[in-house]
Symmetry: C2
Subunit: 389 residues, 2 copies
């Protein structure tokens, strides 16, 4: 039987069965509202606290607190708007990049409507934020720099350490949407000295609908959802106890052997990359070849449409994407690839493969076997393709 | 063995095992991101759509759409801020009541900081919003009235139909935080002609961390979490598929026999109420005796502290509350009881029992057996209590 090959782990992951097991008691037995004052509530409250500390330990984040949110996008919104509102007396300028996730870009655009100004720093042709442009963008009234840790489409890792050093010279706070890297690589928040950092459980084999925000001690943010006093008064609403416990469990599993997993996925990804580049003429890898998530391959195959490739891969039960899942409904080419200077017509022909724990050599061999034929079929129909000329 | 008696269902409910079963496949098998374009995503997307339609059918809400959120509080925030921001060109005045959940009151207070004006309409001594005061509060620039459907502390059901009729005469939109009534009683959204209505799954044996907002066709709201285009562009973030499917399943189960459940709980609640009133001198029921959720009893026992009663009930494995779980960390007396004109010292002595599906005659008998003794002990220590004089 033709088994499915899932290669879209940057979009989402399955929940690890051990994570599901950890969550289950919180549905039917330990179901109490953590804010109540009887003993069964105190137990659940203690379990949330344990989950919080587990995450703080795993991320080396004892120099601040973790706020649980309803997902990564909410976490980005809370960090950026929360910081902007709480610190607007110091200034109303924010710096971000042109390749951020829409949860960051659209939040910044919202703040622009409210009277903030935002600079969207460009990236180079490898998808790396231009540090010199970022430095030039800093103004007297800059209060926050928000740059993603690793790009969801290309996997390119940004020079966050350097950005933090630059920002802190003039007391500008730094937020990073670290949704794509947390769980894939060990991050030391304390050494990094970052002020705000967002993550999302469903990117590291945890449940959907829960994420978190690290807030460094001394950093003031406003809440964006008002109501009860949960999460240090920074996120109202009855805690998603099962989701919170599941997030901690998922991160614990991910950090146990992240390096082995990284190396394994890198080897498979590199094999996929090398083979596709050699088998498919007029193809190229997008993004920095070294500073990149080990699991991600973003490749342009000229003179074909990403969507057509995906549909034919799908009929072979191979699941990949043409970019971010959140925007896959849109027909516009990826803003990330366009920012890297890739022309519209080529950006349309991008494919993203993002590997995960269950992927095997055989999975990769299957893609290598199938994709070149798909490209040949599509290019044979393409008025644009003239044998690579 | 002394088994636990849970009487705090207004704070939260356990998740029905059938709901857990419905959720499980979305963790490990049907885990795909609903926004992706391959076939396993389309299936999940279809399942979300089915969940949405199930809820629309059960709430008779085909005259609009359901937006899934990260909980009831977020739903209140989205409704109130979303409507205020989208319609501020028509006016900046909002009417609410003094007995709303903090997710409504604190959201209104936030809007006041942003230049909106808010009238907090008082309630009568039965906890019912004063309609004449509400009418008087309507101004030229009133755009929204937000009044809860049933109060979480007293269970008192508000005259929503009447409020909607009044509001619509001058084209004011109406939102209702219906978190405490949805799942307990059949509501016909279309007949009601309400514009915005919030609910939360964990109040009707569904999971925590997921809620919903009904938005009537033609009603414009802004999103409050920016990012991807999920949920009709009104709530960014990868969908909590398991939570959404679980919400629909929970509501389906709740609506199958809500009337029998309502009657059963009412009978038990009435027995509890009658017995406690007769056995405990200087006690009284808070709130309207008729227009009230069948499961809720809010009782004041004078000259004792609510917290002390709860702790002694807790040592008998009886779990109740002194008001809303969200504020139970606070030492302030309930704003709901104060708004009803109950003096501070008596409001401190309030107890809320909220019944649920598993409660039995024996549970109630146990409370009736235990509580009077607890009160006697506490009153014997109270300097305020002089034998009821």
């Amino acid at each position: 039987m033709n088994t499915a090959i899932y290669l879209d782990h940057n979009a989402t992951t399955y929940v690890d069965p051990k994570v599901v097991d950890a969550m289950l008691p919180y549905f039917t037995e330990k179901f109490a509202n953590p804010s109540s004052i009887y003993s069964i509530s105190e137990e659940v409250q203690a379990d949330i606290q344990t989950a919080r500390e587990t995450i703080q330990n795993l991320l080396h984040a004892k120099n601040g607190k973790i706020i649980f949110t309803g997902g990564g996008s909410e976490s980005d919104n809370l960090a950026i708007k929360g910081y902007a509102y709480a610190n607007q007396s110091k200034g109303k300028h924010i710096i971000t990049s042109q390749i951020e996730h829409h949860a960051v870009i659209h939040t910044c655009e919202q703040l622009e409507k409210e009277g903030f100004t935002v600079t969207y720093v460009p990236v180079d042709d490898k998808g790396v934020v231009k540090i010199e442009e970022l430095k030039k963008a800093i103004k007297q009234d800059t209060i926050l720099i928000t740059i993603m840790y690793a790009n969801n489409e290309t996997g390119v890792i940004q020079p966050i350490e350097e950005i933090i050093k630059i920002a802190h010279q003039t007391k500008i706070a730094v937020h990073s949407d670290a949704v794509q890297i947390i769980g894939k690589k060990e991050i030391n928040i304390e050494t990094l000295d970052i002020d705000l950092l967002s993550f999302s459980a469903h990117k590291f084999y945890g449940p959907k609908g829960v994420g978190g925000l690290f807030v460094k001690k001394g950093i003031k943010i406003n809440n964006i959802i008002q109501g009860g006093g949960q999460e240090f008064k920074l996120r109202a609403g009855t805690e998603n106890t099962a989701g919170i416990v599941g997030t901690a469990k998922a991160l614990e599993i991910a950090m146990q052997n992240w390096k082995e997993e990284w190396d394994k996925e890198k080897k498979l990804r590199d094999e996929l990359e090398k083979s596709l580049l050699s088998l498919i003429p007029e193809s190229q890898v997008n993004g920095h070849l070294e500073n990149r998530l080990a699991n991600t391959l973003n490749i342009i195959i000229k003179y074909v449409e990403g969507e057509s490739m995906l549909l034919l891969l799908n009929s072979n039960k191979i699941y990949a994407s043409s970019g971010s899942a959140c925007t896959s409904g849109s027909l516009d080419p990826s803003h990330v690839l366009l920012a890297m200077g890739i022309p519209h017509e080529h950006a349309h022909g991008s494919l993203r493969f993002s590997l995960g724990k269950k992927n095997t050599k055989e999975d990769i061999a299957k893609v290598i076997e199938v994709l070149p034929g798909i490209i040949n079929r599509l290019r044979a129909m393409s008025p644009l393709y003239k044998g690579g000329k």
